[in-house]
Symmetry: C2
Subunit: 405 residues, 2 copies
């Protein structure tokens, strides 16, 4: 019998308790051992909750109970979650989490403590919610050199963009709709400004390229600047706009990692990942391209991924799982502006003002019958982001998004 403590009884924490109760038979079978929740730590009251008798306020009870070998951290953030996680690891308890912010910022430190103490720090649920992605990368692709990874990593923004594309609504209306349906928080900044996707691509970069990426080094652009006109121009050219987190090797042992809206050909699979669903695309030198798709958030999908980590930890008491990455170095994450690609540009000017700025055929204008007068949009040939900024200097530029080819 493995006894665990759940730290934080919010959406995911209560989902973990629910999955362990609901799927007890399959969990015991797969772990080859029964798993039960001994404590739920939360400072709030939950009168009438079916698991009320397990709820305690004092974390030190967990810390000092040798019977508890695994703690599930579903508090979120980098404050108490960090303190509790560190304390548990130092006390020789494994920790499983869905806390992407903590993994992205302190994962390297916490993994080192886990290694020293011969316990596990596991976080499958921190990226892609229920989508299996971390194990596929570190185990199934272990014989591949991974060259690139990108994905639709945030359900809220993907829901909003899908609404803008399918219902031709404005960003503001789509956001209000998402809030009304519970797909966006009342304070949606972390999602719509791309911070959540930024943390996730930082974690994926850590795993794929083997060095720590500070989320502060990941240039991050959200979806506020996308207008219905951009959506229409993109559609007219055969593309959809999606917010991607993306990271790739740039040579010389360095990478770039960034989060920004992209135009993706409507014929490609990620362009058809709609609503709150997420996907992750990975390129390995032996594998080629693979994609993982599923619910990137949500109580039960995420809780299922957390409990899978608990099962794996129970099965690996004798020999810990090895997840680790090296430190970064100054300049390891290069500026994404140096990365070449095609770009989509929308500008308040006539096509004739643009033509002379590019070599012949360098700007492919997009026809759009509903576009207002005095505005044009075009796709560039492959060019560096910084170079493009120089070319467009002085013009009234409304939108610039990268094209993912």
């Amino acid at each position: 019998m493995a006894k665990i403590a759940v730290l934080g009884y919010g959406t995911i924490g209560s989902g973990v308790v629910e999955v362990i109760a609901e799927n007890a038979a399959v969990i015991s079978k797969n772990a080859a051992e029964e798993i039960s929740v001994k404590y739920i730590v939360d400072i709030r009251e939950f009168p009438g909750d079916p698991f009320e008798k397990l709820i305690i306020k004092d974390f030190s009870i967990v810390l000092n109970d040798p019977e508890v070998s695994i703690a599930v951290e579903t508090i979120g953030g980098t404050g108490i979650a960090y303190d509790f996680t560190k304390s548990c690891l130092l006390a020789g308890k494994s920790v499983v989490t869905s806390n992407k912010e903590l993994v992205a910022t302190k994962g390297d430190e916490l993994l080192k403590i886990a290694e020293d103490k011969n316990v596990n720090y596991m976080f499958e649920a921190s990226v892609g919610g229920g989508i299996p992605i971390i194990r596929p990368i570190i185990q199934c692709l272990a014989a591949n050199v991974i060259n690139e990874i990108y994905g639709i990593l945030n359900g809220t923004t993907n829901y909003i963009l899908t609404e803008m594309i399918n219902s031709k609504t404005s960003f503001e209306d789509a956001l209000r709709g998402a809030q009304a349906k519970g797909f966006a928080e009342q304070n949606p900044e972390a999602d719509i400004e791309g911070k959540d996707a930024c943390r996730k691509i930082a974690i994926l970069s850590d795993l794929c390229f083997g060095r720590h990426v500070d989320p502060d080094d990941v240039k991050t652009e959200g979806i506020k600047g996308i207008t219905p006109q951009d959506v229409e121009y993109a559609a007219a050219a055969g593309y959809k706009i999606k917010l991607l987190g993306r990271a790739l090797r740039t040579g010389d042992g360095r990478i770039t990692a960034y989060t920004a809206p992209h135009l993706i050909s409507a014929a490609k699979l990620p362009a058809n990942v709609d609503g709150v669903m997420n996907c992750v695309v990975v390129h390995g030198n032996a594998l080629g391209e693979a994609m993982f798709y599923g619910a990137g958030a949500g109580k039960l999908p995420t809780a299922g991924a957390v409990v899978a980590d608990v099962i794996d930890t129970v099965k690996h008491r004798e020999k810990r799982k090895t997840i680790k990455w090296d430190d970064g170095f100054p300049g390891y994450v290069t500026d994404s502006d140096l990365l070449s690609s095609r770009f989509y540009v929308r500008a308040r000017c006539a096509e004739s003002n643009i033509k002379g700025l590019f070599s012949p055929g360098g700007a492919e204008f997009i026809g759009n019958k509903t576009a207002p007068d005095g505005v044009c949009a075009f796709l560039t040939k492959e060019t560096g982001g910084a170079e493009l900024k120089k070319i467009l200097a002085g013009l009234d530029i409304l939108s610039v998004f990268r094209v993912l080819d």
Copy 2:
């Protein structure tokens, strides 16, 4: 230093040797140990091959060399491959394979021997080639009750169907094109009759539902019966035709598993998995739906998956990986004809001959301007396959395919 032997120096076997040489740095890092090929066993001559000096004809050298702890079986089939695998496992050597036929038919027996001998028998590459699928199922979904799994499991047939859909060619022409491009073998029966997909869905059923499924119990229909007219009718109704392997729980501890062409809504992701690419869709009770996509075959993608299993085996010398399933029982795999769904039917008769056979609205006719006179096609409401056969008895039925809703 882990020394391995590669049994069978064909496409996948030579890919394994190539990946180990090419990606030596990342492999050593991920395995925390260097991995080198000590022997390649093949009865053929390979003059001038860069690894010629490793090639031996006598398998007993591998068997009797205690330095070799892992054998890679890339022979294929259930003859010598079975003998060699069993001998290696009994001699206390782990075996890694891409041999779906052997895993599907003898996997349960070989896994039991591996368990007895405290070694591993691993086969990530046997389903979906390079697509990570087995670990995601047995590890990442370990806290889920899996209710259903299906997929486009064969690249050859998916290439042929994609050509039929996009280029409006006949099955015969598409097959010849696939053969010319090397996407279909000169003897393509195992692929086009669905046998390859059948073996893969049998293995996926073993893993998802925990009991052995004999491939002979999996009703299997290939793609020979699909005509350009079916493709056109499907398109007119908003569907694409894909060959799926599919397995699901049918209650009472039983499942059904079968391989057959299906109509899938063109808006769904699997309908847009084209060419030689494969996908696997899985439904978990906590996760909901997830999809894994990538190259389902091919030398390097498959070899990369084999080598990942070798790495995992090297890392788990002290504690073996537990993959196993229970025996089946008579009637465990129920007849897929008992499964209800909507169906697509094409018949040589007038619509008026059909209408009276179904309750009002029970047959939704598909308009198709290019259809020849005297032929009609329709979609039924949800009905059992056996029931539908009774209703249609006596009519000149040209095609019947299930609709995946």
